[in-house]
Amino acid sequence: MASSTPPLRQMLAGWLARWQLIIILYAANLGLALLLALVPAFGLLQMGRLTALNDAAQAIRIPLIWDLLSPLLQVDPQGETMGIQGAGTIGLSFVLIGLAAPFLALLMASFLAGGVYRAFARSSTAFSLGGFLKDSLAWFFPALAVYLLIGLAAVVLLIPSLVLVPVLMGISRLLGWLVIALVVVLFSLVLLVGELALAAMTAANSRSLGVGFSGAFRCLFKRPLSVLAVVAIALAAAALVQVIFRLLLPLAPGDQWLLVLLLTQLFVIGRVAARLLRNAGETALVTSA
């Protein structure tokens, strides 16, 4: 599918036309996060009468977290438990969340990808939630494969750099930072190619990874400047969201939970919107290539 509209205009038009996606992705994120937060919330409630909770509400202090969690690491010489009821639940659930989050995020991103890219590819038609879910399901496995490849690339790039960068930093800090920059650029490129492949597959109404990656590379080689422009705009949008949030958050005192809730959720929505702008741009690139 090829479009004669310039990619940037198409990117913006698609993004504006598919505002429903912001709500869907935000709701999915919030729903999964609430599910994960349930167990630690129960632990938190058990600690509800401790005045330490008031201190934590003002500001999270590392020593307080240490105190709450360190009994889990201690072998108590008196044979008594020095832990606080609820703290163990929170500590354990954070460990489990840390372990489960990469898989859950992968599954969620894989499920939503088909619906998102298909919706942008068909942005001239009316949006339907049923169609979105159907497309999400249809492209779940190809998207999962692409994200697994991206994840594998991240591991391949990250693990050697964890060893290499400290060694290089010892020789020359400049060299160390250059390697970090190189890793970031390489990973961004892998992410971009993977996402362009997803966009190409859905735009071509195909579930073939070959179709996807050939479309991605065709796009990269045929319209490198357009790709750069889309990436730059997407990065600028993400940075803008971060900057605005960093400026606003300090204005909300820790114990003003309603204000903090409002600001943090607006930030999450902002991040989702910025990501969708990137996805809209990727779809525009592959359809115009």
């Binding site: 832990g83 114990d255 991040r271």
Partner: protein, 615 residues
């Protein structure tokens, strides 16, 4: 007395009053072991050729039949020494270079009257003894002539050579000459060099002449008293250090010198060009340390303090104390930038503040670092952490993305993971992590808890009295106990019998809060007195004290308003309490606080999911 005589006397008195003393000295040490050393450094071979004259006075009531010399550099002779076996050839994260070992040999030993003495090496050769032809009687002084050859290792355990960023040699020369042990209670208090152990020596005067190539800049203990260029590319620099227990020096062709006058003290910072950006920070913390410790404990009595910067390849020489000379550590976790990537890293300040505190608690009050390491490291770390609280109030010593940790909190976090270690013990009786907890973390935490119980002013009175009583002496834990209990007028068994001598621990917690009654419980054997704040619905407050001499305390207020909350240790200063999270309890669940924390927790999970999902 006629008028002219009276006038002359007045003039003399005026002159005496107006002329400042050459050095402001609080007290003078009794010189026991003084050293006059002529040493030549050959940078190519890293070998020191030395000739020392030791003047030793028997200040004890017993006759001394023999001598005991420390030969510390022999600890780095091979991987088979006691030091290397105990440390696994690794010292605080730095590995021993077997290709560049260190060693020291006494090549000649005779008395001042020319009698040869026979040296016997003890165990691994880090200690040696020599019989005297005749016992040294109480009050007698002996002169010894010692020739020695020492080889410096690649920097390890704070001494040796390294190659700096410019490719030139850097030398940190510590524990480098044959040094007498301390005669105490009818025997030599001297041990082979153990991995965790540091040093113990008598006070004396040191005159040290160092011959080395002309391009080298030298920083040393004491003050410079002479410089001679020999015309062959070498120079001899002479230094004099009075009333000290040791002498160390450092040399580099690339040292630059920054200085600041702090009262009567000239503070020098000898830094390498690659660390130029650290000069202002280093001088600032040097000044703050000298001023604050001086105000708290007693004035720094020496005319100069030298701080040596070490190259990145010689970091194993960093963070060490010698009399009137310390080594710093210019590179923190983030390198030289103290504020990058959301971190505020004050490692440079921490190391300098800590090592300068050692001038009081090791160099002037000369504890036995081998037998009671908690005294010198604990007093020092407590002092440095206290200084950080003054300089960076509100716990802002170290920051990471808005999360702040004070020096004391950092030490406490280490302590709570390993609290049941007695502070008292010989250095080598501890595994390294236990040693670090006992000597540094627990000791700093314990002393700060003592301060919270006694109050700031009384604690400072205890510490300054102790310093004044034992400046230029070798006090022990028992001496500190006597002073602390005498000055405070309190029985401090909880501190000395509980924290110092045993691994007793404590956790105080509020067990229940009812409308008119609250129960507080003590877990553990330690009995630290504490205060409890009780706030009622009307806003009125009662502060209770508890000696913690029982397992629990029940507070009952039958005629009062309902209790709103109960808070143990409201100032948060009882740092030995293992868990501060359970120190306060409200009568009701605090819904707004719960929601505030939950909202942030939810946001963090959402953010994590977004980031992992490629957003």
């Amino acid at each position: 007395m006629g008028n002219p005589m009276r006038r002359l006397l007045c003039i003399l008195l005026l002159i005496v009053t107006l002329i400042p003393p050459a050095r402001a000295r609080a007290a003078a040490a009794q010189d026991v072991a003084s050293y006059q050393i002529d040493v030549t450094l050959d940078p190519q071979t890293k070998v020191l050729q030395g000739q020392e004259t030791i003047t030793y006075t028997n200040v004890s009531q017993q006759s001394i039949p023999d001598l005991a010399f420390h030969l510390y550099l022999n600890a780095f002779r091979s991987t088979e020494t006691i030091f290397m076996q105990e440390s696994g050839s690794s010292h605080r994260g730095f590995t021993y270079d077997t290709a560049n070992p260190g060693s020291i040999e006494i090549t000649a030993l005779r008395t001042g009257t020319g009698e040869e003495l026979t040296l016997t090496l003890v165990e691994d050769g880090t200690l040696a003894t020599a019989e005297l032809p005749e016992p040294l009687l109480p009050g007698e002084t002996l002169t010894l002539e010692v020739s020695f050859t020492a080889r410096l290792p690649r920097v390890f355990a704070r001494t040796g050579f390294a190659v700096d960023a410019a490719g030139d040699l850097f030398f940190m020369v510590g524990q480098w000459f044959p040094k007498l042990g301390v005669w105490q209670d009818g025997d030599w208090n001297a041990y082979p060099f153990h991995a965790n152990a540091e040093f113990f020596a008598d006070f004396g005067d040191y005159t040290v002449s160092i011959r080395l190539p002309e391009e080298y800049v030298v920083g040393a203990s004491g003050i410079p008293t002479g410089q001679v260029a020999h015309g062959d590319g070498t120079q001899t620099l002479t230094f004099f250090a009075e009333d000290v227990i040791d002498f160390a020096w450092s040399a580099s062709p690339n040292f630059k010198v920054a200085s600041r006058q702090v009262g009567s003290v000239e503070a020098l910072y000898l830094y390498l060009p690659e660390h130029e950006s650290t000069v202002d920070r280093a001088l600032e913390i040097i000044e703050l340390s000298l001023l604050n410790y001086g105000e708290w404990y007693g004035e720094y009595p020496y005319p100069r303090l030298t701080v040596i910067d070490v190259p990145a390849s010689g970091r194993a020489a960093g963070g060490m104390e010698y009399p009137t000379l310390i080594t710093g550590e210019a590179s923190g976790i983030l390198g030289q930038n103290p504020n990058a990537g959301g971190f505020v890293d004050r490692n440079l300040e921490l190391v300098i503040a800590h090592e300068i505190a050692h001038q009081w608690w090791q160099s002037m009050v000369a504890f036995n670092e081998a037998e009671e390491p908690w005294l010198d490291e604990g007093f020092t770390d407590y002092s440095a952490a206290r200084l950080f609280d003054v300089i960076y109030p509100g716990g802002k010593a170290f920051e990471f993305r808005g999360a702040q940790v004070s020096y004391f909190e950092m030490r406490r976090m280490e302590y709570v993971l390993n609290p049941d270690i007695p502070m008292l013990g010989r250095a080598w009786d501890f595994a390294f992590l236990d040693y670090a907890t006992a000597a540094y973390s627990k000791s700093a935490v314990a002393l700060s808890t003592l301060e919270s119980v006694l109050g700031d002013e009384l604690m400072l009175e205890v510490m300054s009295t102790f310093f004044q009583e034992y400046q230029y002496a070798h006090p022990t834990t028992e001496d500190f106990r006597r002073t602390a209990e005498s000055v405070s007028g309190q029985d401090l068994s909880w501190f000395f019998d509980g924290l110092v001598e045993t691994g007793a621990t404590v956790n105080y917690r509020v067990v229940s809060v009812g409308p008119n009654q609250a129960v507080i419980e003590k877990q553990g054997d330690l009995e630290v007195p504490l205060t409890v704040r009780v706030e009622f619905e009307s806003g009125s407050v009662i502060t209770e004290t508890w000696a913690a001499d029982g397992p629990s305390l029940t507070l009952t207020y039958p005629d009062s308003d309902p209790i709103r909350y109960v808070q143990i240790d409201p100032g948060g200063e009882l740092r030995v309490d293992l868990n501060s999270g359970d120190n306060g309890m409200a009568a009701q669940v605090q819904i707004p606080a719960f929601l505030a924390v939950f909202v942030r927790m939810l946001y963090q999970i959402q953010n994590l999911l977004l980031s992992l999902g490629g957003q």
